[in-house]
Amino acid sequence: MSQDLKKIAKSTVALEFKTSTFSVPVLMLTTDDFKLLEQQLTQKIKQAPEFFKNSPLVIDLQEVNRQGYLIDVVALVGLIRKSGLLIVGIRGGNVAQNKQSLELGIPVYMAPGRDSETETKNQIKTSIETSPIPAPVKPEKIEVTVPTTIITQPVRSGQRIYAAGDLVIMAQVSAGAEIIAEGNIHVYSTLRGRALAGVQGDIEARIFCFDLQAELISIAGNYKVSEDLSAAVRNKPVQIYLQDKSLIIKDIV
Protein backbone atom coordinates (compact mmCIF):
# COMPACT_ATOMS: atom_id res chain seq x y z
CA MET A 1 0.00 0.00 0.00
CA SER A 2 2.77 2.38 0.86
CA GLN A 3 4.25 1.67 -2.53
CA ASP A 4 0.99 2.64 -4.17
CA LEU A 5 1.04 5.91 -2.33
CA LYS A 6 4.56 6.61 -3.49
CA LYS A 7 3.51 5.98 -7.06
CA ILE A 8 0.64 8.38 -6.76
CA ALA A 9 2.87 10.98 -5.15
CA LYS A 10 5.24 10.77 -8.04
CA SER A 11 2.65 10.92 -10.78
CA THR A 12 0.17 13.54 -9.49
CA VAL A 13 0.39 16.80 -7.58
CA ALA A 14 -1.29 16.18 -4.25
CA LEU A 15 -0.92 19.65 -2.78
CA GLU A 16 0.21 23.13 -3.51
CA PHE A 17 1.10 26.12 -1.35
CA LYS A 18 -0.60 29.39 -2.18
CA THR A 19 -0.81 32.79 -0.58
CA SER A 20 -4.08 34.35 0.33
CA THR A 21 -5.03 37.52 2.16
CA PHE A 22 -7.63 37.40 4.90
CA SER A 23 -9.37 40.08 6.82
CA VAL A 24 -9.11 39.15 10.49
CA PRO A 25 -10.10 41.24 13.51
CA VAL A 26 -7.18 42.41 15.65
CA LEU A 27 -7.58 42.89 19.40
CA MET A 28 -5.56 45.86 20.66
CA LEU A 29 -4.89 45.85 24.39
CA THR A 30 -4.14 48.92 26.47
CA THR A 31 -4.11 47.49 29.97
CA ASP A 32 -3.03 44.40 31.89
CA ASP A 33 -6.05 44.60 34.18
CA PHE A 34 -7.55 41.21 33.41
CA LYS A 35 -10.75 41.93 35.25
CA LEU A 36 -11.40 45.01 33.15
CA LEU A 37 -10.40 43.21 29.95
CA GLU A 38 -12.79 40.38 30.62
CA GLN A 39 -15.64 42.72 31.44
CA GLN A 40 -15.21 44.84 28.30
CA LEU A 41 -14.66 41.86 26.06
CA THR A 42 -17.87 40.21 27.28
CA GLN A 43 -19.72 43.46 26.72
CA LYS A 44 -18.43 43.85 23.15
CA ILE A 45 -19.32 40.29 22.24
CA LYS A 46 -22.78 40.73 23.67
CA GLN A 47 -23.44 43.53 21.16
CA ALA A 48 -22.88 41.24 18.16
CA PRO A 49 -22.75 37.64 19.32
CA GLU A 50 -23.19 36.22 15.83
CA PHE A 51 -20.31 38.25 14.49
CA PHE A 52 -17.89 37.15 17.18
CA LYS A 53 -18.98 33.53 17.39
CA ASN A 54 -15.97 31.37 16.38
CA SER A 55 -14.34 34.43 14.84
CA PRO A 56 -10.61 34.25 14.19
CA LEU A 57 -8.58 36.82 16.11
CA VAL A 58 -5.07 38.25 16.24
CA ILE A 59 -3.85 39.69 19.55
CA ASP A 60 -1.81 42.85 19.28
CA LEU A 61 0.46 43.50 22.27
CA GLN A 62 2.29 46.45 20.77
CA GLU A 63 0.46 49.18 22.63
CA VAL A 64 0.27 47.43 25.96
CA ASN A 65 4.00 46.66 25.86
CA ARG A 66 4.79 50.21 24.87
CA GLN A 67 2.95 51.41 27.94
CA GLY A 68 5.15 49.11 29.99
CA TYR A 69 2.59 46.59 31.15
CA LEU A 70 3.80 43.04 31.15
CA ILE A 71 1.10 40.67 30.10
CA ASP A 72 1.19 36.97 30.71
CA VAL A 73 0.30 35.49 27.34
CA VAL A 74 -0.84 32.15 28.77
CA ALA A 75 -3.39 33.85 31.03
CA LEU A 76 -4.50 36.20 28.26
CA VAL A 77 -5.03 33.36 25.77
CA GLY A 78 -7.05 31.48 28.37
CA LEU A 79 -9.28 34.52 28.94
CA ILE A 80 -9.91 35.12 25.24
CA ARG A 81 -10.54 31.49 24.39
CA LYS A 82 -13.14 31.37 27.15
CA SER A 83 -15.12 34.03 25.26
CA GLY A 84 -15.42 31.82 22.17
CA LEU A 85 -12.94 33.63 19.91
CA LEU A 86 -10.34 31.57 18.03
CA ILE A 87 -6.83 33.01 18.31
CA VAL A 88 -4.91 32.63 15.06
CA GLY A 89 -1.92 34.81 15.88
CA ILE A 90 -0.11 37.27 18.04
CA ARG A 91 1.93 40.30 17.11
CA GLY A 92 3.89 43.07 18.76
CA GLY A 93 5.01 40.83 21.61
CA ASN A 94 8.49 40.69 23.20
CA VAL A 95 10.80 37.69 22.99
CA ALA A 96 9.34 35.97 26.03
CA GLN A 97 5.76 36.56 24.90
CA ASN A 98 6.50 35.24 21.42
CA LYS A 99 8.08 32.15 22.90
CA GLN A 100 5.04 31.59 25.09
CA SER A 101 2.77 31.96 22.07
CA LEU A 102 4.65 29.43 20.01
CA GLU A 103 4.53 26.99 22.89
CA LEU A 104 0.75 27.40 22.86
CA GLY A 105 0.71 26.72 19.14
CA ILE A 106 -0.13 30.32 18.23
CA PRO A 107 1.78 31.76 15.28
CA VAL A 108 3.75 34.96 15.76
CA TYR A 109 3.28 37.74 13.23
CA MET A 110 5.48 40.72 12.72
CA ALA A 111 4.10 44.03 13.86
CA PRO A 112 3.31 46.23 10.86
CA GLY A 113 6.46 47.66 9.28
CA ARG A 114 8.79 46.19 11.88
CA ASP A 115 10.75 43.12 12.77
CA SER A 116 9.40 41.60 15.98
CA GLU A 117 12.87 40.60 17.14
CA THR A 118 13.95 44.24 17.28
CA GLU A 119 10.71 45.27 18.87
CA THR A 120 11.81 45.07 22.48
CA LYS A 121 15.14 46.73 21.77
CA ASN A 122 13.58 49.75 20.17
CA GLN A 123 10.64 50.08 22.48
CA ILE A 124 11.17 53.73 23.25
CA LYS A 125 11.83 54.71 19.67
CA THR A 126 8.66 53.12 18.51
CA SER A 127 6.59 55.34 20.72
CA ILE A 128 6.47 57.94 17.98
CA GLU A 129 4.88 55.53 15.65
CA THR A 130 1.19 55.93 15.24
CA SER A 131 -0.04 52.44 15.10
CA PRO A 132 -3.42 52.17 13.43
CA ILE A 133 -6.12 51.37 15.90
CA PRO A 134 -8.79 49.22 14.29
CA ALA A 135 -12.19 50.80 14.14
CA PRO A 136 -14.47 49.42 16.81
CA VAL A 137 -16.72 46.71 15.51
CA LYS A 138 -20.18 48.17 15.25
CA PRO A 139 -22.96 45.91 16.39
CA GLU A 140 -24.70 46.31 13.02
CA LYS A 141 -26.71 43.44 11.62
CA ILE A 142 -25.04 41.62 8.79
CA GLU A 143 -27.05 42.46 5.68
CA VAL A 144 -27.68 39.72 3.17
CA THR A 145 -28.68 40.83 -0.32
CA VAL A 146 -31.93 39.20 -1.40
CA PRO A 147 -32.48 39.19 -5.15
CA THR A 148 -35.48 41.01 -6.60
CA THR A 149 -38.25 38.85 -7.99
CA ILE A 150 -39.45 39.92 -11.44
CA ILE A 151 -42.71 38.62 -12.89
CA THR A 152 -43.52 39.33 -16.54
CA GLN A 153 -46.79 37.37 -16.87
CA PRO A 154 -50.15 38.57 -15.55
CA VAL A 155 -50.83 37.45 -11.99
CA ARG A 156 -54.27 35.84 -12.27
CA SER A 157 -57.08 35.52 -9.78
CA GLY A 158 -56.22 32.84 -7.20
CA GLN A 159 -52.47 33.05 -7.83
CA ARG A 160 -50.12 34.01 -5.05
CA ILE A 161 -46.60 35.32 -5.30
CA TYR A 162 -44.21 35.68 -2.39
CA ALA A 163 -40.89 37.47 -2.68
CA ALA A 164 -38.24 37.44 0.04
CA GLY A 165 -36.95 40.77 -1.28
CA ASP A 166 -38.47 43.29 -3.66
CA LEU A 167 -41.18 42.23 -6.08
CA VAL A 168 -41.49 43.75 -9.55
CA ILE A 169 -44.49 42.85 -11.70
CA MET A 170 -44.44 43.90 -15.34
CA ALA A 171 -48.05 42.88 -16.02
CA GLN A 172 -51.43 43.29 -14.39
CA VAL A 173 -52.43 41.80 -11.06
CA SER A 174 -56.01 40.52 -11.23
CA ALA A 175 -58.69 40.76 -8.59
CA GLY A 176 -58.37 37.77 -6.29
CA ALA A 177 -54.59 37.52 -6.78
CA GLU A 178 -52.14 38.11 -3.94
CA ILE A 179 -48.69 39.59 -4.23
CA ILE A 180 -46.59 39.54 -1.09
CA ALA A 181 -43.08 40.86 -0.52
CA GLU A 182 -40.74 41.37 2.41
CA GLY A 183 -39.46 44.42 0.56
CA ASN A 184 -41.07 46.87 -1.90
CA ILE A 185 -43.68 46.04 -4.52
CA HIS A 186 -43.72 47.58 -8.00
CA VAL A 187 -46.59 46.92 -10.41
CA TYR A 188 -46.06 48.40 -13.87
CA SER A 189 -49.70 47.86 -14.83
CA THR A 190 -53.08 47.71 -13.15
CA LEU A 191 -53.17 46.48 -9.55
CA ARG A 192 -56.56 44.90 -8.84
CA GLY A 193 -55.62 42.21 -6.35
CA ARG A 194 -54.06 42.37 -2.90
CA ALA A 195 -50.60 43.80 -2.42
CA LEU A 196 -48.75 43.31 0.87
CA ALA A 197 -45.29 44.89 1.21
CA GLY A 198 -42.88 44.68 4.13
CA VAL A 199 -44.60 41.59 5.50
CA GLN A 200 -41.71 40.86 7.85
CA GLY A 201 -42.21 44.22 9.48
CA ASP A 202 -40.20 46.54 7.24
CA ILE A 203 -41.96 49.86 7.79
CA GLU A 204 -39.79 51.49 5.10
CA ALA A 205 -41.28 49.27 2.38
CA ARG A 206 -43.40 50.91 -0.32
CA ILE A 207 -45.88 49.91 -2.97
CA PHE A 208 -45.78 51.52 -6.41
CA CYS A 209 -48.35 50.89 -9.11
CA PHE A 210 -49.45 52.35 -12.45
CA ASP A 211 -53.16 52.05 -11.81
CA LEU A 212 -54.52 51.58 -8.32
CA GLN A 213 -57.68 49.46 -8.18
CA ALA A 214 -56.49 47.16 -5.41
CA GLU A 215 -58.72 45.06 -3.18
CA LEU A 216 -56.29 45.54 -0.32
CA ILE A 217 -52.98 47.26 0.25
CA SER A 218 -50.76 46.66 3.25
CA ILE A 219 -47.35 47.76 4.49
CA ALA A 220 -45.86 46.02 7.51
CA GLY A 221 -49.33 44.92 8.59
CA ASN A 222 -51.02 48.32 8.26
CA TYR A 223 -53.71 47.88 5.68
CA LYS A 224 -56.53 49.51 3.76
CA VAL A 225 -59.27 47.75 1.86
CA SER A 226 -60.74 48.89 -1.42
CA GLU A 227 -63.60 50.65 0.34
CA ASP A 228 -61.14 52.87 2.23
CA LEU A 229 -59.58 54.18 -0.97
CA SER A 230 -60.89 57.54 -2.05
CA ALA A 231 -61.69 58.31 -5.66
CA ALA A 232 -58.81 60.78 -5.67
CA VAL A 233 -56.21 58.00 -5.54
CA ARG A 234 -57.94 55.41 -7.68
CA ASN A 235 -57.21 54.56 -11.31
CA LYS A 236 -53.89 56.35 -11.46
CA PRO A 237 -50.19 55.90 -10.77
CA VAL A 238 -49.52 56.14 -7.05
CA GLN A 239 -47.01 55.22 -4.40
CA ILE A 240 -48.02 53.97 -0.98
CA TYR A 241 -45.87 54.29 2.12
CA LEU A 242 -46.13 54.28 5.87
CA GLN A 243 -45.99 57.41 8.00
CA ASP A 244 -46.75 57.32 11.71
CA LYS A 245 -48.41 53.94 11.34
CA SER A 246 -50.85 55.13 8.72
CA LEU A 247 -50.78 54.45 5.00
CA ILE A 248 -50.15 57.47 2.78
CA ILE A 249 -51.16 57.22 -0.86
CA LYS A 250 -49.60 59.82 -3.12
CA ASP A 251 -49.23 60.48 -6.81
CA ILE A 252 -45.95 59.45 -8.31
CA VAL A 253 -44.46 62.64 -9.69
Partner: protein, 269 residues
Amino acid sequence: MARVIVVTSGKGGVGKTTTSAAIAMGLAKRGHKTAVIDFDVGLRNLDLIMGCERRVVYDFVNVINEEATLNQALIRDKNCNLLYILPASQTRDKDALTQEGVGRVLEELKKDFKYIVCDSPAGIEKGAHLAMYFADDAFVVTNPEVSSVRDSDRMLGLLSSKSRRAEQSEEPINEYLLLTRYAPERVKLGEMLSVDDVQDILSLHLLGVIPESKSVLNASNSGTPVILDEKSDAGQAYADIVARYLGEDVPHRFIDDKKGFFRNLFGGK
Protein backbone atom coordinates in the same frame (compact mmCIF):
# COMPACT_ATOMS: atom_id res chain seq x y z
CA MET B 1 -48.54 17.93 -35.67
CA ALA B 2 -51.79 17.41 -33.80
CA ARG B 3 -53.00 20.15 -31.48
CA VAL B 4 -55.00 19.69 -28.32
CA ILE B 5 -57.51 22.50 -27.72
CA VAL B 6 -59.26 22.90 -24.39
CA VAL B 7 -62.54 24.81 -24.22
CA THR B 8 -62.75 26.02 -20.65
CA SER B 9 -64.21 28.76 -18.47
CA GLY B 10 -64.32 27.95 -14.77
CA LYS B 11 -67.93 29.08 -14.59
CA GLY B 12 -70.79 26.88 -15.72
CA GLY B 13 -73.44 27.68 -18.33
CA VAL B 14 -71.36 30.13 -20.35
CA GLY B 15 -71.35 28.05 -23.54
CA LYS B 16 -68.39 25.66 -23.34
CA THR B 17 -70.19 22.69 -24.87
CA THR B 18 -71.86 24.82 -27.56
CA THR B 19 -68.45 26.25 -28.40
CA SER B 20 -66.72 22.85 -28.36
CA ALA B 21 -69.32 21.41 -30.73
CA ALA B 22 -69.20 24.44 -33.03
CA ILE B 23 -65.45 24.75 -33.38
CA ALA B 24 -64.91 21.00 -33.68
CA MET B 25 -67.46 20.96 -36.49
CA GLY B 26 -65.91 24.09 -38.02
CA LEU B 27 -62.41 22.58 -38.07
CA ALA B 28 -63.69 19.31 -39.53
CA LYS B 29 -65.73 21.14 -42.19
CA ARG B 30 -62.53 22.83 -43.28
CA GLY B 31 -60.95 19.45 -43.95
CA HIS B 32 -59.11 18.79 -40.68
CA LYS B 33 -59.70 15.46 -39.02
CA THR B 34 -61.00 16.40 -35.60
CA ALA B 35 -62.04 14.61 -32.40
CA VAL B 36 -64.07 16.22 -29.65
CA ILE B 37 -63.98 14.74 -26.14
CA ASP B 38 -66.55 15.29 -23.41
CA PHE B 39 -64.67 15.61 -20.12
CA ASP B 40 -67.84 16.24 -18.13
CA VAL B 41 -68.04 12.72 -16.71
CA GLY B 42 -71.36 12.23 -14.91
CA LEU B 43 -73.02 15.21 -16.65
CA ARG B 44 -72.80 14.11 -20.25
CA ASN B 45 -74.08 16.80 -22.65
CA LEU B 46 -71.86 16.96 -25.71
CA ASP B 47 -73.56 13.96 -27.31
CA LEU B 48 -76.89 15.81 -27.14
CA ILE B 49 -75.51 18.97 -28.71
CA MET B 50 -73.84 16.87 -31.42
CA GLY B 51 -77.01 14.84 -31.92
CA CYS B 52 -75.35 11.47 -31.40
CA GLU B 53 -76.86 10.49 -28.05
CA ARG B 54 -78.62 7.46 -29.54
CA ARG B 55 -75.40 5.99 -30.81
CA VAL B 56 -73.36 5.97 -27.62
CA VAL B 57 -72.10 2.47 -26.78
CA TYR B 58 -68.75 2.93 -25.13
CA ASP B 59 -67.40 6.10 -23.54
CA PHE B 60 -64.25 7.94 -22.50
CA VAL B 61 -64.05 6.13 -19.14
CA ASN B 62 -64.31 2.74 -20.84
CA VAL B 63 -61.35 3.67 -23.01
CA ILE B 64 -59.33 4.91 -20.03
CA ASN B 65 -60.06 1.66 -18.16
CA GLU B 66 -59.18 -0.28 -21.32
CA GLU B 67 -62.62 -1.86 -21.39
CA ALA B 68 -63.03 -0.69 -24.97
CA THR B 69 -60.70 0.46 -27.72
CA LEU B 70 -60.67 4.03 -28.91
CA ASN B 71 -62.14 3.01 -32.26
CA GLN B 72 -65.04 1.30 -30.52
CA ALA B 73 -65.85 4.37 -28.48
CA LEU B 74 -65.42 7.11 -31.10
CA ILE B 75 -68.66 8.08 -32.81
CA ARG B 76 -68.47 9.44 -36.34
CA ASP B 77 -70.54 12.57 -36.84
CA LYS B 78 -73.53 12.23 -39.15
CA ASN B 79 -72.92 15.61 -40.82
CA CYS B 80 -69.19 15.46 -41.34
CA ASN B 81 -67.10 12.32 -41.76
CA LEU B 82 -63.92 14.01 -40.52
CA LEU B 83 -65.44 14.64 -37.09
CA TYR B 84 -65.52 12.11 -34.25
CA ILE B 85 -67.03 12.36 -30.81
CA LEU B 86 -65.75 10.67 -27.66
CA PRO B 87 -68.64 10.88 -25.19
CA ALA B 88 -68.39 11.05 -21.42
CA SER B 89 -69.71 8.39 -19.11
CA GLN B 90 -72.98 9.35 -17.46
CA THR B 91 -72.86 6.75 -14.69
CA ARG B 92 -69.42 7.57 -13.34
CA ASP B 93 -67.83 10.63 -11.73
CA LYS B 94 -64.68 12.66 -12.34
CA ASP B 95 -62.59 10.32 -10.19
CA ALA B 96 -62.82 7.79 -13.00
CA LEU B 97 -60.44 10.02 -14.96
CA THR B 98 -56.72 9.59 -14.35
CA GLN B 99 -53.93 11.77 -15.63
CA GLU B 100 -52.10 8.76 -16.99
CA GLY B 101 -55.25 7.44 -18.69
CA VAL B 102 -56.19 10.79 -20.24
CA GLY B 103 -52.61 11.26 -21.44
CA ARG B 104 -52.62 7.85 -23.06
CA VAL B 105 -55.94 8.43 -24.89
CA LEU B 106 -54.77 11.85 -26.14
CA GLU B 107 -51.47 10.41 -27.38
CA GLU B 108 -53.37 7.76 -29.29
CA LEU B 109 -55.73 10.34 -30.81
CA LYS B 110 -52.80 12.54 -31.82
CA LYS B 111 -51.57 9.82 -34.18
CA ASP B 112 -54.70 9.99 -36.24
CA PHE B 113 -56.27 13.43 -35.74
CA LYS B 114 -55.22 16.99 -36.56
CA TYR B 115 -57.23 18.66 -33.81
CA ILE B 116 -58.47 17.27 -30.50
CA VAL B 117 -61.04 19.48 -28.79
CA CYS B 118 -61.49 18.90 -25.05
CA ASP B 119 -64.83 20.08 -23.70
CA SER B 120 -64.05 20.93 -20.08
CA PRO B 121 -66.56 20.65 -17.25
CA ALA B 122 -67.22 23.72 -15.11
CA GLY B 123 -65.18 24.27 -11.96
CA ILE B 124 -61.48 23.92 -11.34
CA GLU B 125 -61.47 20.41 -9.92
CA LYS B 126 -60.23 17.15 -11.34
CA GLY B 127 -62.33 17.03 -14.53
CA ALA B 128 -61.49 20.60 -15.53
CA HIS B 129 -57.87 20.12 -14.52
CA LEU B 130 -57.41 17.02 -16.66
CA ALA B 131 -59.24 18.63 -19.61
CA MET B 132 -56.71 21.46 -19.72
CA TYR B 133 -53.60 19.64 -18.45
CA PHE B 134 -52.41 18.36 -21.85
CA ALA B 135 -53.63 21.35 -23.90
CA ASP B 136 -51.63 23.25 -26.51
CA ASP B 137 -54.29 25.93 -27.03
CA ALA B 138 -57.00 27.15 -24.70
CA PHE B 139 -60.28 28.77 -25.68
CA VAL B 140 -61.48 30.63 -22.62
CA VAL B 141 -65.22 31.08 -22.91
CA THR B 142 -66.48 34.10 -21.01
CA ASN B 143 -69.82 35.84 -20.64
CA PRO B 144 -69.76 39.63 -20.36
CA GLU B 145 -70.48 39.72 -16.63
CA VAL B 146 -68.17 40.06 -13.63
CA SER B 147 -68.40 36.60 -12.10
CA SER B 148 -67.72 34.85 -15.38
CA VAL B 149 -64.79 37.17 -16.05
CA ARG B 150 -63.28 36.48 -12.64
CA ASP B 151 -63.66 32.72 -13.05
CA SER B 152 -62.00 32.92 -16.45
CA ASP B 153 -59.15 34.85 -14.88
CA ARG B 154 -58.75 32.09 -12.30
CA MET B 155 -58.75 29.49 -15.07
CA LEU B 156 -56.06 31.43 -16.93
CA GLY B 157 -53.95 31.34 -13.78
CA LEU B 158 -54.29 27.57 -13.64
CA LEU B 159 -53.46 27.23 -17.34
CA SER B 160 -50.22 29.08 -16.77
CA SER B 161 -49.23 27.18 -13.63
CA LYS B 162 -50.87 23.76 -13.43
CA SER B 163 -50.74 22.52 -17.03
CA ARG B 164 -48.22 20.06 -18.42
CA ARG B 165 -46.60 22.81 -20.50
CA ALA B 166 -46.20 24.95 -17.37
CA GLU B 167 -44.92 22.10 -15.23
CA GLN B 168 -42.34 21.07 -17.81
CA SER B 169 -41.40 24.71 -18.54
CA GLU B 170 -42.33 24.34 -22.19
CA GLU B 171 -43.72 27.11 -24.37
CA PRO B 172 -46.90 28.26 -22.58
CA ILE B 173 -50.41 27.36 -23.75
CA ASN B 174 -51.80 29.78 -26.36
CA GLU B 175 -54.76 31.43 -24.65
CA TYR B 176 -57.68 32.91 -26.59
CA LEU B 177 -60.72 34.79 -25.39
CA LEU B 178 -64.17 33.90 -26.68
CA LEU B 179 -66.84 36.26 -25.50
CA THR B 180 -70.23 34.56 -25.72
CA ARG B 181 -73.84 35.68 -25.23
CA TYR B 182 -72.85 39.23 -26.13
CA ALA B 183 -75.63 41.76 -26.54
CA PRO B 184 -74.36 45.12 -27.85
CA GLU B 185 -77.63 46.91 -27.06
CA ARG B 186 -77.35 45.87 -23.40
CA VAL B 187 -73.72 46.98 -23.31
CA LYS B 188 -74.91 50.35 -24.54
CA LEU B 189 -77.36 50.56 -21.67
CA GLY B 190 -74.60 49.73 -19.24
CA GLU B 191 -76.22 46.41 -18.31
CA MET B 192 -73.36 44.33 -19.64
CA LEU B 193 -69.58 44.56 -19.72
CA SER B 194 -68.21 45.66 -23.07
CA VAL B 195 -65.55 43.81 -25.08
CA ASP B 196 -63.07 46.48 -23.99
CA ASP B 197 -63.97 46.05 -20.31
CA VAL B 198 -63.43 42.30 -20.48
CA GLN B 199 -60.18 42.63 -22.42
CA ASP B 200 -58.97 45.24 -19.97
CA ILE B 201 -59.54 42.85 -17.07
CA LEU B 202 -58.25 39.70 -18.72
CA SER B 203 -55.66 41.20 -21.13
CA LEU B 204 -56.11 38.33 -23.50
CA HIS B 205 -56.15 37.93 -27.28
CA LEU B 206 -59.76 38.13 -28.47
CA LEU B 207 -60.56 35.33 -30.89
CA GLY B 208 -64.15 36.37 -31.35
CA VAL B 209 -67.47 37.53 -30.00
CA ILE B 210 -70.57 35.31 -30.21
CA PRO B 211 -73.76 37.35 -30.06
CA GLU B 212 -76.66 36.32 -27.84
CA SER B 213 -78.84 34.42 -30.28
CA LYS B 214 -81.97 32.32 -30.40
CA SER B 215 -80.27 30.10 -32.94
CA VAL B 216 -77.99 28.68 -30.21
CA LEU B 217 -80.88 27.23 -28.22
CA ASN B 218 -82.54 25.95 -31.40
CA ALA B 219 -79.31 24.28 -32.46
CA SER B 220 -78.88 22.63 -29.07
CA ASN B 221 -82.42 21.32 -29.05
CA SER B 222 -82.09 19.88 -32.52
CA GLY B 223 -78.67 18.37 -31.88
CA THR B 224 -76.85 20.18 -34.69
CA PRO B 225 -73.88 22.40 -33.86
CA VAL B 226 -74.87 26.03 -34.39
CA ILE B 227 -72.00 26.58 -36.84
CA LEU B 228 -74.00 24.54 -39.38
CA ASP B 229 -76.74 27.20 -39.25
CA GLU B 230 -74.92 29.44 -41.70
CA LYS B 231 -77.68 32.03 -41.76
CA SER B 232 -77.57 32.66 -38.02
CA ASP B 233 -75.34 35.33 -36.52
CA ALA B 234 -73.98 32.90 -33.90
CA GLY B 235 -73.16 30.36 -36.63
CA GLN B 236 -71.30 32.99 -38.64
CA ALA B 237 -69.50 34.19 -35.53
CA TYR B 238 -68.21 30.67 -34.83
CA ALA B 239 -67.15 30.29 -38.48
CA ASP B 240 -65.16 33.52 -38.12
CA ILE B 241 -63.53 32.19 -34.96
CA VAL B 242 -62.45 28.97 -36.65
CA ALA B 243 -61.02 30.98 -39.55
CA ARG B 244 -59.11 33.27 -37.17
CA TYR B 245 -57.79 30.32 -35.21
CA LEU B 246 -56.50 28.85 -38.47
CA GLY B 247 -54.60 32.07 -39.09
CA GLU B 248 -56.96 33.96 -41.41
CA ASP B 249 -57.39 37.67 -40.98
CA VAL B 250 -61.13 38.05 -40.50
CA PRO B 251 -62.48 41.37 -39.19
CA HIS B 252 -64.46 41.24 -35.95
CA ARG B 253 -68.25 41.39 -36.20
CA PHE B 254 -71.16 41.45 -33.76
CA ILE B 255 -69.38 43.85 -31.39
CA ASP B 256 -71.40 46.93 -32.31
CA ASP B 257 -75.13 47.41 -32.15
CA LYS B 258 -76.22 47.19 -35.79
CA LYS B 259 -79.74 48.39 -35.19
CA GLY B 260 -78.37 51.41 -33.39
CA PHE B 261 -75.94 51.98 -36.22
CA PHE B 262 -78.71 52.04 -38.84
CA ARG B 263 -80.90 54.10 -36.64
CA ASN B 264 -78.12 56.66 -36.38
CA LEU B 265 -77.49 56.46 -40.11
CA PHE B 266 -81.04 57.20 -41.02
CA GLY B 267 -81.50 59.83 -38.38
CA GLY B 268 -84.05 57.81 -36.42
CA LYS B 269 -84.96 58.58 -32.85
